[in-house]
């Protein structure tokens, strides 16, 4: 059987064409445009060298804050989602009544629209009528009731907390699958040796779950760097100057105000960064296929 005849290359052309034109080309053209003064105000494009990148990385502009915000958001949500997701996964692989109900309910927030979750939480975190502060006041913890989204002190933390609330069920679900794929013989052996549950976790579950945790980390990092909807719906970068501004919201603002060149330069920095991360991610994700 002639493989190239039975499996003709043109079967891939549809996917390749769409993906290349609408996904890859914008990234590559974008890098080109980053070296120009492209804007909504003039029809002419001039080559300006590295000027846009100098603007982005200069300390006196907000852009540097935007980059560090995005990285902080990614780091914090990745670490906490992994930690909480792991706890929940361990909890939900024990003998619990209505196990599937709990798993289903905890996973549900991750399938809902991020934008809508953000909108719901602007109400829940409202300083005066919000559900959270009303609840804190009613159980005598009024001192903990804060203006969550309206002060620069708490806004970024609040956005991250909501994002963790939304995404932790997804991580939990992956980790549950990971735990269930660990061979039960390890646990039987540990049981015979009289290991307690903490020892079992530390010596068996955790080490054998590390490859899965590597994947959830990569998925979280990719998601975190691209975050937009959540911030846009909850604070739109505010309160004050760039308190919660992240890459994608900044790019959208530059686009709306016609500063295309700076916007595309910022996007390009992200593009290159994520292609590199992506390369490692693929190595992790396709590793399993090779084993099969």
């Amino acid at each position: 059987m002639n493989k190239s005849k039975t499996y003709p290359l043109y079967f891939t052309f549809g996917a390749l064409l769409l993906y290349t034109i609408l996904f890859v080309l914008p990234g590559i053209f974008g890098i080109g445009y980053s070296f120009t003064d492209w804007s909504a105000y003039s029809d002419k494009l001039n080559f300006v060298g590295l000027a846009n990148f100098k603007t982005i990385f200069s300390a006196d502009e907000n852009y540097f804050k935007i980059l560090t915000n995005t990285l902080a958001f990614t780091l914090v949500t990745t670490v906490l989602k992994n930690a909480l997701g792991l706890l929940m996964a361990v909890l939900l692989t024990k003998h619990i009544k209505l196990l599937n109900f709990h798993r289903g309910v905890m996973f549900m927030p991750s399938v809902l629209s991020t934008l809508i979750i953000g909108m719901i939480f602007t109400s829940i975190l409202d300083p005066s009528i919000g559900l959270l502060n009303t609840f804190l006041n009613s159980i005598g913890l009024g001192a903990l009731a804060k203006p969550w989204l309206t002060t620069s002190e708490f806004a970024f933390g609040s956005v991250m907390a909501v994002d963790i609330w939304k995404g932790v069920g997804y991580i939990m679900t992956i980790l549950i699958a990971g735990i269930l794929s660990i061979s039960p013989t390890y646990y039987e052996a540990a049981n015979i040796d009289g290991a307690n549950s903490f020892q079992v976790f530390r010596k068996i579950t955790f080490p054998l779950l590390l490859p899965t945790l590597a994947t959830t980390t990569v998925l979280n990092v990719i998601y975190g760097l691209k975050i937009f909807d959540m911030v846009y719906a909850m604070t739109n970068g505010g309160p004050g100057k760039a308190t919660t501004e992240v890459l994608y919201t900044a790019v959208f603002k530059m686009f709306s105000t016609g500063q295309y060149a700076v916007g595309t330069a910022l996007s390009s920095v992200m593009f290159l960064f994520m292609v590199i991360i992506g390369y490692f991610m693929i190595r992790v994700m396709t590793r399993n296929e090779v084993i099969e």
């Binding site: 079967f11 993906y19 890859v24 009544k97 549900m108 809902l112 909108m119 959830t216 994700m285 099969e292």
Partner: protein, 275 residues
């Protein structure tokens, strides 16, 4: 010993319930307040709505928020890209998986890299306006498809490898053309993976917000997410209406989630867990 076991058992069950309740409260809040009148909903609390239920919130939202148009837009965008993505991804993954040449391996890597890649929207707009795809329904469908392809190809690629090659050989000997072989023999066998791709693509495209925000300035072409956000800005004080709008927008997602949970979980965990 037994007493200690019982305490642990109660503790873990209690903890599970607490986490589940924390996961459910925001949704419950939306559900309850979408049946209240404007005055009762202004506090956004968890009290049960008073009778009679304010069913007219839904009618109100549908007319004020132009929800019928948005619903059809969302449906067209999602169904269009689901169909396109499923067929293109299946055909592409099938050939890449079956004929494992160096070139095909490189193509696979190139496509799967898109799972991590961010879109440069500013430059994308330039390219899309060149093809007259801005403010256009086909434009959105093609873009959604392009964005969903990398993960779908990844999912399909792993699945095709599990289908025996003997079938292909027998069919080819019987005189099947490559197109016949794919559509009448292999494609039906891909059903489980297709179901996963369909469900995930539907959810992702239904929830998509950024792309239409950049591409669609014409409100007649807005999907549900964009109109619910716009509505949120216009009726900020009327939480009963906002809740009704959110409920209607999320309803298809929740329905698909409940019906297709198996496929969502298998899709989302593939690649992450060996086996």
């Amino acid at each position: 010993m037994n007493a200690k076991k019982l305490v642990t058992k109660i503790a873990v069950n209690l903890l599970a319930w607490i986490i589940s309740i924390i996961s459910l409260i925001p949704l419950l809040l939306i559900f309850l307040n979408s049946f209240k009148d404007s005055a009762h909903a202004s506090d956004m609390n968890l009290k049960l709505p008073t009778l009679p239920l304010a069913w007219d919130n839904f009618a109100n939202v549908i007319s004020k928020g132009k929800l019928i148009t948005s619903f059809f837009n969302s449906a067209i965008y999602s169904l269009g890209s689901v169909a396109l993505c499923a067929i293109l991804a299946a055909a592409c993954a099938y050939v890449l998986s079956r004929n494992n040449t160096k070139l095909n391996k490189a193509i696979y890597m190139y496509i799967v890299l898109g799972i991590a890649m961010p879109i440069n929207y500013v430059a994308l707009l330039k390219i899309m306006s060149f093809f007259h795809l801005i403010n256009s329904r086909p434009g959105i469908i093609l873009l959604y498809t392009a964005v969903q392809l990398p993960f779908s190809v990844f999912l399909m690629h792993g699945f095709v490898a599990k289908i025996p090659v003997d079938l292909d050989e027998a069919a080819t000997l019987d005189g099947c053309s490559p197109v016949q072989l794919f559509f009448s023999i292999v494609f039906p066998l891909l059903k489980p993976a297709l179901a996963t791709v369909i469900v995930l693509t539907f959810l992702n495209t239904w929830n998509e917000f950024v792309s239409p925000l950049y591409l669609l300035s014409n409100s007649d072409k807005w999907p549900m997410t964009l109109s619910v956000y716009n509505f949120f800005g216009m009726y900020q004080t009327n939480w009963n209406l906002i809740c009704a709008d959110i409920l209607l927008t999320s309803f298809p997602v929740i329905l698909v989630y409940l019906l297709g949970q198996k496929y969502i979980v298998s899709g989302m965990t593939s690649g992450a867990v060996k086996g």
